[in-house]
């Protein structure tokens, strides 16, 4: 009864995926690992692309694929509880079936503009999810890229996601630095305290690198300002957008910024491309 042949099936029709593993990252973020019922990934994707997750009769919502494309056996999604679909997802157990469709959107240019370059990742909160896909991709092809700096902030230490990666995996890789920060002083936290944009300025990073940013819109706005003050050019900076989405395929008319549909032409944009778009996001 479920539809496996996707050739003539409408792009809006999801296929079934099974939750294989669940990891609670923070009080409100959970990472789900999903596979085909018969095993294997639902589809292949590129770093930065998204998947539309369906939980009938509740609805659908779009999520970044947080696992690296080099991960051959499953897809991972880090999901923050903030509404009815996400709430329902948080109630599911290993073995539960969901609908999935995708991959949607464009990707960070890992095989073009990022190749051979020093990279600076800047993330806030759940914004680490799409960047993690790029970071792990790069870690698996480490020789193809230069130095990697990762600046990641959250409200409190408890709100940091993907703790295994940020505390253990990435800092131990060659030429990779992880800079963590939290918004306010907190018991048991002896790391940096302060907002991400300020931390970036304090770090005194050289500007000969490509920057990838994802986080809440307000963080993105201030980080971009800060980066330009330090001397980064728009052509060096990539960010992703999050707009309300329904179809994911550029037809329902919901997610445009100017003449671009974020679901199809985005979610990844280079800053100089955004320049000509209206400030409506």
């Amino acid at each position: 009864m479920s539809c496996s042949c996707h050739g003539h099936v409408d792009p809006l029709v999801p296929k079934i995926a099974v939750i294989e593993h669940i990891r609670k990252d923070t009080p409100d973020v959970t990472t789900f690992r999903v596979v085909n019922p018969a095993g294997g990934k639902s589809f292949t994707s590129l770093p930065g692309q998204c998947a539309m997750i369906s939980v009938p009769p509740i609805g659908e919502a779009m999520f970044s694929i947080t696992s690296s494309p080099t991960e051959e056996n499953f897809l991972e999604l880090s999901i923050k509880k903030c509404g009815i679909v996400t709430e329902y997802l948080h109630g599911l157990e290993v073995g539960s079936e969901i609908g999935i469709r995708g991959p949607y959107g464009n990707n960070f240019p890992v095989n073009d503009e990022l190749k051979g370059k020093d990279l600076l990742f800047i993330a806030g909160g759940i914004g680490l999810a799409p960047l993690r896909s790029v970071i792990n991709y790069i870690m698996d092809k480490r020789d193809d890229y230069g130095k990697v700096d990762i600046v990641y902030g959250a409200r409190t230490p408890d709100d940091l996601v993907h703790k295994e990666d940020i505390f253990n995996n990435w800092p131990n890789r060659l030429a990779t630095n992880v800079f963590l920060t939290v918004d306010r002083e907190c018991e048991g936290w002896d790391g940096h305290v302060g907002f991400v944009p300020q931390y970036i300025k304090e770090l005194g990073l050289d500007t000969n690198k490509v920057v990838l940013i994802c986080g809440p819109p307000i963080m993105i706005k201030f980080v971009l300002q800060g980066l330009e003050e330090i001397g980064f050019k728009k052509e060096q900076i990539y960010t992703t957008f999050e707009l309300r989405m329904k179809c994911g395929v550029g037809k329902c008319g919901r997610c445009n910024i100017g003449d671009k549909y974020v679901c199809k032409d985005g979610p990844v944009f280079r800053l100089d491309e955004i320049q000509r778009l209206p400030d409506e996001y």
């Binding site: 479920s2 409408d10 792009p11 999801p14 009769p57 329902c252 445009n256 100017g258």
Partner: protein, 343 residues
Amino acid sequence: MKVLKKEKFPQIWQAINQAYELYLPIEKDDRVNFAQWTEGETVNLEALKTEISPKDVIFPQSETYLKFESDGKKLQLESVESENREYVLFGVRSCDAVSFNLIDNVFLREPIDRLYEKRRNKGTIVSLACSEPEENCFCSSFQIKPEEASPGVDVAAWDLGDKILWKPVTEKGQVLTQKFAQLMEDASQQDQEELIKLQNAIKEKVKELPLASVDPKVIKGELKEIFESKVWDELSQSCLGCGACTYICPTCHCYDIQDFAGGNCGERFRCWDSCMFSEFTLMAHGNPRTTQKQRFRQRFMHKLVYYPNNHGSYACVGCGRCIEKCPVNMNIVKVIKRLGGEG
């Protein structure tokens, strides 16, 4: 070319209805709208424009595409195939016929919308030239020719008083014509001459229309300049956000996706939506369009700037419906004129 006598209309409706679903402008409670024909309906081919555009026939207002069954753990999904037969859509005006091509540009580009494609392929479109264009028409502003067959129609028809002239233009149109040829006659030399007379008369009338001089090309400048123009404040001031303009508009294609459930089973459907509504873009961390000005601007920027940037033509066909239906008398003509600098 063929002629079909109007006295044969009831017969041909019946005959077409045997082989196809038949959609015609049907009059009910003083309103004329496209609907599926059944015996006894009042067909009105004189009314120039239906109240709502016929886009409903190619892009239904609400359409179920998925059935599901879930017990919270196991999930079953089944795509729903539309059960429609081949259909004939008869009496489409040039503006509305062109609007189908504009929606095609969105739904038939990759990834192809299979539901739409299937429905679209099942249709044979018969256009009807506009003998009497009226004061709110401005299709000529978009190079639409109401005296001719619009690109994409399968049969073009012209009203010659007691008969219509019938000209198949595509293979599908030929097939339809052959099927019902026994109800038609060959067009005579005189019919051909009458057609040319009618076409010339329409051309003259179109030139004289009060909105004939509306020209979207007066809107100049970069996307951002137009977006930031001062005129949006004033233009949007009276807009109620009722969305009427988007529902009647033949080129509006925004949709919503919703689940409907009873117990463990349910259906997923898509239905028309409107960028004029405040929740259209609402998200957890905010709403990029919180004011009616922003929503109003979105609708017209899409028609006049965004869509043209993406597809090479304006997303308006000058049907004039928004002029007739907006409760506060706002419309795209006013927007074009003000953006073009007119007071």
